[in-house]
């Protein structure tokens, strides 16, 4: 893919058919500033940087792949529309996940959650089809249990555990105190532990 931005150093390569940003000397916030000056290439770079984690978080929150795509897409478009409203008291990552979190939580107001997890891809497990199937089932069980968590516990758990946001950043995303996020995480862990202890035991054996 040819970078359109002449303002930034970008190397975009294709990895498994997906454009991946290899190197750039610009921070997220610098890219956002370029975007505000009309550099669509800077927006493209931000999408490349965050598309995987946006799709992953949305998918784990809603379960359905198509809905997750819609939400991730809408989150990026909101970034594009509202880039000028970004304040430097947060990182771009926190701001972006706040947008995505709001979309996720608002989506539940409009539509009842679907408690399923549709396995999106085959898991490479060598040449052993039985092992591959087993891994697939384990993965489905874990993410089904996460999907069954109440929405705020679920998004807090996803952001902290999988997207590695700090408690403070997660609190900003949810508009809660750090204490409230810790409390959500404790309840989420307890529920998941109860649901998944049998599965964990089987795997350890």
């Amino acid at each position: 893919m040819q970078a359109e931005s002449h303002l930034l150093n970008r190397v975009v390569t294709m990895a498994d058919g997906v454009p991946t940003l290899q190197t750039t000397d610009a921070s997220d916030e610098q890219l956002l500033a370029h975007m505000n000056r009309g550099d669509i290439g800077a927006f493209e770079s931000l999408v490349i940087r965050y598309q995987r984690s946006a799709l992953r978080a949305a998918r784990r929150f809603v379960g359905d792949g198509h809905e997750a795509e819609d939400m991730a897409q809408e989150a990026f478009l909101q970034v594009y529309r509202n880039a000028h409203q970004f304040r430097s008291d947060a990182t771009f990552k926190t701001w972006f996940f706040r947008i995505l979190t709001n979309l996720c939580l608002n989506r539940l107001k409009k539509k009842q959650p679907e408690y399923f997890y549709d396995p999106p891809m085959e898991i490479p497990a060598g040449d052993d089809p039985a092992r591959s199937l087993e891994l697939q089932e384990q993965r489905s069980a874990i993410f089904r249990a996460i999907l069954n968590l109440p929405p705020r516990q679920r998004i807090a758990f996803i952001l902290c555990c999988f997207e590695e946001l700090s408690y403070a950043d997660t609190a900003q995303c949810l508009g809660l105190s750090v204490k409230a996020v810790e409390s959500l995480l404790v309840r989420a862990r307890r529920t998941l532990r109860k649901e998944l202890s049998a599965l964990q035991k089987n795997i350890s054996e």
Binding site: Q51, A72, F76, H84
Partner: protein, 178 residues
Amino acid sequence: MNCAKVKDQLAAYLVGELKAATRKRVDEHLLGCLSCRAELASERAFDEFVRGAGQLFDEPVPPDFLERVVNLARAEPASAAVDGGAADRSLLWQWLMPFSLPVRAAIVAAILLATFGGIQSGRIVTGLLANLSASSSSQPDPMAVLEMMPVEQEMMQLMHGVKIGALDQPRPRSGDRR
């Protein structure tokens, strides 16, 4: 603190939610209790198990996702795509944040004065440049001169040697024939 209470607190202990005093009591209990230490290790293993699953099973990115998002962004109205004024305001706001409120107010007032004071002189310069580039050798358009501010008229008079009074004729009404 007994084992049942400690085990009940382990999730909060790992998340870091416990108050310092409670955490200290749990730590003290853990030092002397093999069973609770085993439970803590099990909790940690569970964390690793779930995190590991998250890392192992990544979600695929559709190959056309980027293109789709960028095309949709391109189709956004220009005002939404690039809000230069708002961006400037945002940058100005970020720059002003470290100053105290009175200093911020003074800076904003100075900028406003400079901006609006500059508009007047800007108009004169723009008008002169437009006239010069359009017809450097010919006389200025009388109607255009009449539209000018008095100061601009003086400037035009100096440049072209035309008396504004001579041009100061009533405008022809529609239907007038000469």
